[in-house]
């Protein structure tokens, strides 16, 4: 671990790359280590469009938050929020309405510490350290935060999260638990890597991510659809990220976007 920076304390493994820091790097951020950047190079080799994919995914998160704001949502639960990077949910939401509340959820120590740092002076946003695949614990912590009123509609955000949830963790049941906790009229946003668009590149990504702390599980369109049980998909349904309610005239090729995006409204 020659590249381990001297100020990195013991117990934080910078030698093993993490998906969150890889994402940050692909978005042009600086919250990453040599190991993450080395992984990013491999990732780019497997999927040369990776920077655009990251950017498009982040842009979808922004548009989905703004869409929910337009639909009257003022409180957000961002599951698996990762390390704060450019364009965080509370920044987007509070720019639209300073009264918007955001609860971030992540399990990883550094991501949590980093988020706390960013959110220190924001009374309307917080982070809880829980595993998003344990909805009971997450929901309890979210209630205890006092920032989310579960009698009012909630925007549940899972941008680029479920592709890190293995099938044996039963993602459908995880979503169902959150669905059952929020009132009718709440929204769920999902973006998730798929093998439907570029199967070869996707297989390459899966292979690369096996070397990180976060192996990846792409899903087909019908598997993504299954996550929305009990929700009504809003237009345009499940589509590659750039096609989800695009803003202006983007020139990105949807077939190379790698990720499906969708938003649903709880029935």
């Amino acid at each position: 671990m020659a590249e381990q920076v001297s100020w990195v304390p013991e117990g934080v493994d910078t030698g093993k790359p993490s998906a969150a820091r890889l994402y940050d790097y692909l978005l042009g951020g600086g919250h990453n280590f040599a190991a993450d950047r080395a992984l990013a190079e491999k990732f780019l080799k497997a999927q040369p469009n990776a920077r655009a994919i990251a950017r498009l995914n982040r842009a979808f998160l922004r548009r989905s938050v703004l869409f929910m704001i337009d639909e009257g949502i003022r409180q957000f639960l961002d599951l698996g929020s990762g390390i704060p990077t450019v364009g965080n949910v509370h920044e987007i939401a509070q720019k639209a309405d300073p009264e918007a509340h955001v609860v971030y959820v992540d399990f990883e120590e550094v991501a949590v510490a980093h988020s706390q740092l960013i959110l220190e002076h924001d009374p309307r946003a917080t982070i809880v350290q829980e595993d998003m695949t344990r909805p009971d614990a997450v929901l309890q912590a979210a209630r205890e935060s006092g920032l989310i009123d579960f009698t009012q509609p909630v925007g549940v955000l899972t941008a680029g999260v479920f592709h890190f949830v293995p099938p044996q963790a039963d993602p459908n049941a995880v979503v169902a638990a959150y669905r059952d906790a929020v009132p009718v009229g709440s929204y769920l946003a999902v973006s998730q890597f798929t093998q439907d668009l570029q199967p070869e590149e996707m297989a390459g990504i899966v292979e690369v991510m096996k070397q990180s702390q976060n192996p990846m599980y792409p899903r087909t369109k019908s598997e993504v659809e299954a996550l929305f049980a009990g929700f009504e998909l809003v237009e345009p349904g499940i589509v590659p990220t750039p096609l989800w309610r695009p803003e202006g005239s983007d020139t990105d090729d949807p077939d190379k976007a790698g990720i499906y995006a969708a938003v649903g409204r709880k029935l």
């Binding site: 950017r55 390390i83 364009g87 510490a113």
Partner: protein
């Protein structure tokens, strides 16, 4: 080119190079401002680009490409230099932020660790169990005060650097060492053991050990955790309980259970002799002088026998109320019997009562080593019964041959309930023949078990208390079978005869049982004949009368021709009597007497039947003497065999 148009082109060039978290209109507006500012202050434009997050690898080149036709090279050069610097600072900022985050994460982990360590320390310090953490050589690196207290040291700190092995008994070192190795080599997760430790002051202490292994992050064992519970009080209690379980509280001698285990232990050694002593007439003492006196006497006997046992190196136990076991090795029976009688015969005064003591003694001398202790105890007991039968102060050696005979019967009786339960006892049917017409009058239902006759089986059943349930079972099963025959063969079906044992004949519920059997099976009452044991009728039981009144034909079994029996025939309405006797040959003087007896019986209107007549010649002799029917001419058959015969008989001739 107009600035707004340039701003739009710039925006389109820039947005694919980086994620800028703003709407296109917002980005375009910001870029338009930047274009206006650019000639004067390319540095602030560079800063704005970085703060907008237009920081992708291609963001700068895309910018230069769009702007180069409209701006001078020096302006663009300043913009590039300032952009690089702003990127550098931004990266530093972000790394700094990440560093702070990591330090905080680390601090939180440490805090959590501290809390959990504090919790552990609290558990460790206040545990009621002694806890020692030792390295793999056994050297103690940490121990709590409870452990120190158990091993007799002032505090946990004083245990540190001691080897736990110092507290083991030397003979425990090897087995405990092996158990510890099993843990460190991964063959076990945990072991429990009960051992005696030697305290620092040399005192022993009984402990329960629970030992597990601690591993490092790579799963390699680094330490053992030994939890120690002081169970010495428990241990003493356990031992006292054990003593109570194995000893007689009155005399303090071993009890029967303990004696048997000692017999077991010595059986494999030298030739042993087992004496089973029963005090003669002890019940007389107990009843006549009171139980307190009896108890005192028993204590005296115990202590005298105890002295003798010590002299002879014998094992002594109180194995029953007034019975003692005495076990010797390499012994001469006659002299030991003498010695026992001598110590018991010394004058004994209890509460001013002078009591003469003697014992009957059953002896098993030098049994083969393959017999079990329980078997020996039984043999000694059997010999004691024989000795007692001979009078006081007698002894008897166990006789294996005599024993075998006696035992055969008991063993058979003992196995009877199991045999019945397993269906080994069958019901068979023996034909009853009319001596005059030679026709079959009916079938007697009988028990059949192995090679035992009905009467032997019933006698055994009487001795085990099984005769009532078996008799009822016989009654019901036979009635059911007879009902099936009656249904299938009508008048061709045999009448059912049942001979009841003595107990069942007297059974108060007999009439109800018979009626219930008839009701439940549907057998018409006229198809049933019940033979009662004649002794029950002689004893005044009225079952025969009530059965008769209920329309059931009865007979008396076991008729021997006595006056009392003949008298009964005048009072009790029975159809026949059944006897068992040697056939009266015509040339025998008995022939005439039997003819006269049978004539007398006939005179009362009662028929005369004979059981256990096995040859035609005997049957003929009985016929000549005037008897009406016999049982036993043909072997008894199972119900299926009887059914086959009945079917064959009911076939019209030539139909096969």
């Amino acid at each position: 080119m107009e600035l707004p148009e340039l701003a739009a082109r710039w925006m389109h060039a820039l947005t694919p190079t980086a994620y800028i978290p703003l709407s296109h209109a917002e980005i375009e507006h910001a870029l338009l401002d930047s274009l206006r500012e650019l000639p004067e202050s390319p540095e602030s434009v560079a800063k704005r680009l970085v703060s907008l997050h237009a920081t992708g690898p291609d963001s700068l080149s895309a910018t230069i490409e769009v702007l180069s036709p409209s701006f001078e090279l020096p302006v663009l050069a300043r913009l590039s230099a300032a952009y690089a610097q702003a990127m550098r600072l931004d990266a530093f900022d972000q790394q700094e932020q990440l560093k702070v985050a990591i330090v905080r994460a680390k601090q939180r982990v440490e805090r959590t660790l501290k809390v959990s360590e504090a919790r552990f320390q609290e558990v460790f310090d206040s545990a009621a169990l002694g806890i020692a953490i030792t390295d793999l050589t056994g050297r103690c690196v940490e121990a709590n005060d409870t452990l120190a207290e158990i091993v007799g040291l002032p505090s946990g700190a004083d245990v540190v650097d001691h080897d736990l092995k110092e507290f083991y008994r030397p003979e425990d070192l090897a087995p405990l060492g092996a158990s510890y190795r099993n843990l460190s080599e991964g063959r076990l997760d945990r072991f429990r053991d009960q051992r005696e430790l030697i305290r620092a002051d040399g005192e022993p202490v009984w402990v329960l050990l629970v030992v597990s292994v601690l591993r490092d992050a790579d799963g390699r064992p680094t330490h053992h955790v030994t939890m120690v519970e002081d169970i010495s009080e428990l241990h003493l209690l356990q031992r006292s309980l054990d003593h109570q379980l194995l000893h007689d509280s009155l005399t303090g001698l071993s009890n029967r259970q303990h004696f048997v285990t000692q017999v077991e232990r010595l059986l494999d050694g030298g030739p042993i002799t087992l004496y089973h002593l029963g005090l003669d007439a002890f019940s007389v003492v107990n009843i006549g002088l009171g139980q307190d006196t009896g108890d005192k006497l028993l204590k005296i006997v115990a202590s005298r026998l105890g002295r003798l046992a010590a002299e002879k190196n014998a094992v002594l136990a109180r194995i029953g109320g007034d019975e003692f076991g005495f076990l010797t090795v390499n012994d001469t029976v006659t002299s030991t019997v003498e010695e026992i009688q001598d110590v018991l015969g010394e004058p004994t005064f209890v509460d001013d009562h002078g009591i003469a003591l003697s014992a009957s003694i059953g002896v098993v001398d030098r049994p083969p080593s393959f017999v079990t202790a329980a078997e020996l105890m039984r043999c000694a007991n059997a010999a004691l019964r024989q000795a007692k039968a001979r009078g006081k102060r007698q002894w008897a050696l166990h006789d294996p041959h005599d024993d075998a005979r006696r035992r055969g019967k008991y063993a058979l009786a003992a196995s009877m309930p199991g045999a019945w339960e397993h269906g080994e006892i069958e019901i068979v049917y023996a034909p009853v023949h009319d001596l005059e017409t030679r026709e079959v009058l009916g079938a007697v239902a009988r028990l059949h078990w192995d090679d035992l006759s009905h009467n032997d089986t019933m006698a055994l059943a009487d001795s085990t208390g099984l005769s009532l349930p078996i008799g009822r079972w016989l009654l019901r099963e036979a009635c059911a079978q007879a009902a099936r025959w009656a249904e299938e063969f009508g008048d061709g079906a045999p009448t059912l005869h049942l001979a009841l044992g003595a107990l069942q004949s007297r059974d108060e519920d007999l009439v109800a049982e018979v009626k219930r059997a008839l009701d439940e099976t549907g057998l018409p009452p006229e198809r049933l004949r019940i033979a009662l044991d004649i002794s029950s009728v002689l004893a005044g039981d009225d079952n025969a009368v009530v059965l008769h009144d209920s329309g059931i034909v009865t007979a008396l079994d076991g008729f021997r021709g006595g006056h009392d029996e003949l008298a009964v025939l005048t009072e009790v309405p029975v159809r026949s009597v059944i006897t068992r006797a040697p056939a009266p040959t015509p040339d025998s003087p008995l022939h005439q007497a039997m003819r006269a007896l049978i004539a007398t019986v006939h005179g009362f209107g009662v028929r005369f039947g004979v059981d256990e007549v096995h040859t035609l010649a005997d049957a003929e002799h009985w016929r000549q003497a005037g008897a009406d029917g016999v049982i036993g001419l043909l072997p008894a058959l199972t119900s299926a065999e009887v059914t086959d015969l009945l079917r064959a008989a009911s076939q019209p001739p030539g139909a096969s």
